[in-house]
Amino acid sequence: MTTAQVRKLKNGIALTVCTIAAFLGLFWLIFILWDVLVHGIGGLHLSLFMNDPAPPGIEGGGLRNAFVGHLIITFFATLIGVPIGILGGTFLAEYARGRKIARVISVLSDIMVSVPSIVIGTFIYAVIVKPVGHFSGWAGAVALAIIMIPVVLRTTEDMLSLVPWTLREAAFALGAPYYKVIIHVVYRAAAAGILTGILLSIARVVGETAPLLFTSFNNSFFSANMNEPVSSLTVSIFQYAMGPYSTWHSQAWAASLMITLFILVLAVLGRLLLAWRYGKRPTI
């Protein structure tokens, strides 16, 4: 073979290997989603959403308590985490723009995004659950909020930095104080981006299990009281999947399907929003 042929052959082999790798990645995605879909649909009944858990062996049990509990915990986590994240991101992109403190906090937030979520669970156990004396929905919501803060903070910072500086100068020239410029000009210009950050942060925490295990714990009964243990879908999935009953397994699959669908919708929505507004991908 001539050198040119050898190079072509090597090229062909290398490209084939890379293509196979890419399709292997896609294969896992489709395999997992398909499996969750097939098993999950089998467990989807109206009773899953309408009834509370029944003892094993009795027909018609559901996960109403977990669906409601999960919604409440996520709602309060969003209520705590999002404002702190947005305000923090505002400081980095506006008041502290270009200063060292902004760089440091930005890098620390990036690290916080990937810190093991179970460690946050143990932290909240020590500072909230132990002093209060029992597990509570609030502890779970705070744990999730802590995971949300760095995600929202970093996307807000990125999105505010994309707003052209001249837009602010135009507002300054009219005599507006900085806080008015931020609220009326910068936030409006970056609204779609900030919303994406919020969507992605919700998508991030809605599937979290580890930080809820020792904070909101679990509750076999319907409870919307945040001062008591509150059941969540993810912790119920963990408990049901590890349990011995096949009705539990099919309920766990159905709950997994609902969570996966919810997260994929949020993730796709966030992506579309970014692509539509900025023509770019999210960084987190």
């Binding site: 290398a14 890419a22 690290i111 810190v115 946050i120 803060i149 806080y179 590890m242």
Partner: protein, 313 residues
């Protein structure tokens, strides 16, 4: 671009509020570190550092604890999953940046990133119900028959293939971290200046030569950062491995044995800890995990920033 405006009183209040909100991240990190040290203090005092990390004893009844079995499980699953994931992830990144036709680049990239959005508990459950039986019935017996009969490495594949073991946990972890590594490698590859690639193509280089001699030398630090970031993620992953690892506090020879990682031990035993020293030892494990992953993630960030800076200059 620093702003020196005449301060309006509302501005001072608003800027202070935002400053407090952003410093909360710093306070949280310090707070977590402080609380974990405080809570694990009884255990630190009783077992010390070196003794704790080298002791394989995990005996709640006798109140004697050591982290070696957990560290062993964490290290094996993390390293093994990285070994499986990195070649695939880099292949994906090369496919998406250099090989795929333009209309496929976006959709395939997005689809692989969606893998990262699937929560870890779904991976864990899928691993328990779907992957573990496949591993136990097909893949592990096949491995045993082929590599298992070789000297030296054969010992890694001894025992009855049950599917609930180190190997299955590592495979699930690797599927989980492929998207992270792939997406950071892709970003690093994309930073290669197009002019240089085009010059190489103009000289008649093949795609493989362009990737090998231009793209990878340009982006290797960034790709390395991506690998380290995935390492940090794999280290702290809980639910994906909790289902398929068993909770076996032993250092085992074979990859077909159940084991325990730091995260799995925490998830399974935290709410059951009935003595103070037991709970304190679990906090000690959490502290070790926090410090390790923080250092690894900081390193990853350092490498990624270095590539971005290097190419901008």
């Amino acid at each position: 671009m620093t702003i020196r405006l005449k301060k309006n009183p509302v501005d001072i209040i608003f800027s202070s509020i935002t400053a407090i909100a952003s410093v909360s991240v710093l306070l949280l990190i310090l707070g977590i570190l402080y609380v974990l040290i405080l809570e694990s203090y009884p255990s630190i005092e009783k077992f010390g550092f070196l003794r704790f990390i080298t002791s394989t004893d995990w005996n709640p009844v006798k109140g004697s604890f050591g982290a070696a079995t957990n560290l062993f499980g964490t290290a094996i699953t993390t390293v093994l999953s990285i070994l499986i994931a990195v070649p695939v992830a880099i292949g994906i990144a090369i496919f998406v940046t250099e090989i795929a036709p333009n209309f496929l680049k976006g959709p395939i990239g997005a689809a692989i990133e969606l893998l990262a959005a699937i929560p870890s508990i779904i991976y864990g459950m899928w691993g328990l119900f779907t992957l573990a039986p496949i591993m136990a019935n097909y893949i592990e017996p096949a491995l045993q028959k082929s590599i298992g009969s070789l000297p030296l490495v054969g010992v890694l594949f001894e025992g009855t293939p049950m599917g609930i073991d180190l190997l299955t946990a590592s495979v699930i972890l690797s599927i989980m971290i492929i998207p992270f590594t792939a997406s950071i490698s892709r970003d690093a590859f994309n930073l290669t200046p197009a002019v240089i690639k085009e010059s190489a193509y103009a000289l008649g280089a093949t795609k493989r030569e362009v990737v090998k001699d231009i793209v990878i030398p340009y982006s290797k630090v960034g790709v390395f950062g991506g690998v380290v970031l995935s390492l940090g993620r794999a280290l702290g992953e809980t639910m994906a491995v909790a289902f398929v690892l068993g909770n076996n506090h032993q250092i085992t020879k074979s990859l077909f044995d159940a084991a325990a990682t730091i995260t799995v031990t925490l998830a399974n035993e935290f709410t059951e800890a009935d003595t103070d020293i037991y709970l304190s030892s679990l906090f000690y494990l959490a502290l070790l995990l926090f410090v390790m992953s923080f250092i690894i993630l900081a390193l990853a960030k350092f490498f990624i920033l270095k590539t971005e800076k290097g190419i901008k200059q």
